[in-house]
């Protein structure tokens, strides 16, 4: 009895959480499509004209999908070996947040907007694709970004200080009557400028202001180069370490062999086989 129950949970787990059995894969594909559809519905519903005509249908469709997702969430809770740990995991939280807004919308109108959080569930796609390749690439990216974080932080901190000073200076120069209504607004302008976004909703008019702006832009020129440099360097590192540095020749003990190397390029001795990733 418990035996079969354990079996049932076991198999349910394989279907719901994993994607390497045909059933599991089918389950995940259906899931992804329904997520995609639900997100699309939320977006369409936000378009006034569409809402006016199909609002009622979209509303029902949303409840149906929410019901399905709720059922799925419960199934996950039940079949998970450690339900509580799943509930606190990243995907556990996302899965919950993906259904709550609909219920909330009963009390707070408009809160169903938050359903777009379902987009995050789409991240499961990588597990379905089961392209170890993509996972590894993603890992390289992550490693590079993690390695760059401290530098990026120092950089961001400097940029923020810079932006505050430029913004205030601009506020003093141009003044409220020319759109720079307050220091925070001017800082917003400074960010828009330094990041080279340049909406143009606020832009300097006085010669002095334009001179300062020009300096800020040319500064932003050099500044935008910094994060790129940081990430590029770290990425090159991550890539190299990912590709080569792991293999050593047992004879001359030198490293730096390519992935497709069978013999040491320094002493010609045979290399140890490449361990699978």
């Amino acid at each position: 009895m418990t035996r079969t129950l354990a079996d049932w949970r076991e198999s349910a787990y394989r279907v719901i959480f994993e994607a390497d059995t045909p059933a599991g894969k089918r389950f995940d594909v259906v899931l992804l499509w329904s997520i995609l559809i639900s997100v699309a519905l939320v977006m369409l519903d936000s378009v006034a004209s569409i809402h006016a005509r199909y609002g009622a249908w979209l509303y029902r469709a949303e409840w149906v999908l929410t019901a399905l997702f709720s059922a799925e969430y419960l199934a996950r809770l039940v079949s998970a070996p450690r339900p509580w740990r799943y509930a606190r995991s990243f995907f556990g939280v996302v899965d919950l947040l993906a259904i709550v807004p609909t219920y909330l919308s009963l009390f707070f109108a408009g809160s169903q907007m938050l359903l777009v959080i379902r987009a995050l569930r789409m991240l499961r796609v990588f597990r379905v694709l089961k392209l170890g390749r993509y996972v590894r690439e993603a890992a390289v990216l992550q490693q590079a970004l993690r390695a760059s974080r401290p530098k990026i932080l120092v950089f961001l901190y400097t940029v923020l200080t810079l932006v505050m000073l430029i913004g205030t200076l601009m506020y003093v120069i141009e003044g409220p009557e020319r759109g720079f209504t307050s220091i925070p607004t001017s800082i917003y302008w400074a960010i828009v400028t330094l990041t080279t976004v340049g909406y143009g909703d606020i832009s300097p008019v006085t010669p002095a202001g334009r001179l300062l702006a020009s300096m800020a832009m040319i500064l932003g020129y050099g500044i935008i180069a910094v994060p790129t440099g940081i990430v590029t360097v770290e990425m090159a590192r991550a890539r190299d370490s990912a590709s080569v540095s792991t293999r050593t020749c047992h004879d001359c003990t030198r490293e730096g062999h390519d992935l497709d190397a069978t013999y040491c390029k320094f002493c010609g001795a045979g290399l140890p086989p490449l361990e699978p990733f």
Copy 2:
């Protein structure tokens, strides 16, 4: 008889498809110029004032060019060793698409716009230039981009998710009355912002919206660094392998040895010394 026909096809092929005989080169140069002219005509025709005055002339000129291109297309079909394979090749399809719109324009007005697709035919220019140099550079670029694809895809996927969340959040914060008329529109705004294009046709007004926008921009700052890093790293790789691949092992005749390699990494045989660049 068939003999001479074969000869004729043979020589026609050399003239039309290849560019290493004087005749063939002349043919391609004439072709490129007429393509250039035809594309220019389509563009000029789209300018109202020009269309009003020279519309009739342009119309005739277009038919003449189309006739020429049609003849050329038939000639290609006839002279090609495997007509059907040519017809399905990239250039074969482009060549066809480059003449169809004119005939379509008899039934659907305005469809001659699509003639701009002729621009694609210009890509033949590289074959005419016959600058192996350019071809090789293009190859390096392609290799680098192909190698970066998986990373770029992972990156794009993350950006899209990000853009959806930021866009929706902005829609909730700023609301329709401030230009963020719907979630898709807000997502469009988020893309315009993250890519640092910043049209300014839609821009945040409320302090909260501007705060979020500032965060998005500073985020975009770091984000724009990622593809650059990816491509740069891959390009460095492609370049190195391109500069290296000139060495061949005399035993297994395989290439791709590093500059500091003394022994073939595939068969372990000694490599020929590196010729000075």
Copy 3:
């Protein structure tokens, strides 16, 4: 007596200037928070609506904070071993500039805007965090930027010349009636365009102007790549030297040896084997 005074100064110094004693750390944390608050107050005060309602309170709060900072400044002067040197140091000047504006505001209205300079004091945060890590990263960044300076200067000089020529050309083409009111204004436009900021407050209208603008943009495309390239290369260098500089020659005790070095490049003595990272 003097003895105890010396002691007092000694301990005061440790509390005020250093951050490795509990007291010192507490002091700095309190300081940072009050700086943060004071900067925030200045910003809020610049918002018309807030100024109208809470202006009086903000005014008082500012005076309180200024009094505190003044006391702190004096304490620093007194406890510093060489008061005069501190006064002329970067932070010494910033600390002074951080209190002066308030007093000035008694004579010149609005000068309290300059209090935002207090933001610079926030840079002390890195000393408090005492994250040698961050300091080191900052050092790498600085080294890279310092190394890139000459190239960057050459680059900037070229860009400025370019911008002057493009701007003037545009002024000649578009003329004052289309927003390009003067050469300086056109140069401002050229900078806005080349840096890809693109406010759109001034933009070409005539075909000729748009053609020139398009060329300028595509040029800016390549141009923006240059500083990035410079910084990236220098950063890679700085990073490598940072990772390498750990090896010291036991004979001449000099550092900066490459990873593949077996002998000291300065004195030719054998190097200690590279410790694994």
Copy 4:
């Protein structure tokens, strides 16, 4: 007699063309300042308000400067060993173009705008600074850019084709009534978008147009990474080749020694002294 004349020309040459004698340096500094002033005058003169008040003065000042520059030009012609070669050299042409507009302005009003070409003369500054350092850096930049040219050309060609297709598609989608008045205009828009300048003078309104624009932007995201990658890689190459690859150890004949290396890092033998740049 001829003797002394030759002497005179000799010394005049040293003063006018070179900058390593005190007199020569003084001459060049004065020259640079007068160029700077003349360029500034042209710019100021283009500002309506200033022109109205000081137009007459600026006009006279310009003639004075032009007279000086004309005299200088003649002096250069006379003292140059090969006058004709100087006249055809880059600086020779620029020097001429720097005075012609003033005379032209007698016949064609407004042509004095072209005087801004004098800015090019400023490039002499590097020779005055005589910072071999800067010259070398500039050389590295040039080398990198020259090496990247073929790749950049292939890249530009692809971008132009892309821009033509996107522009035309946009023209078909949005149509003249929404600002996309003609295909050339739409191509201009496509360039503004792909280069992430984003003026916003023309921007898509229809959902389809915005979708296409979003794709174009995200595409531009990746595209902007390409030139950066190209330049960065070439720059790294140029830098390395500039710094190391020039020296070879006479014992083990291996390369890649740092500039500050005295002994071979591979075999410990003494290195040949570094030849001065």
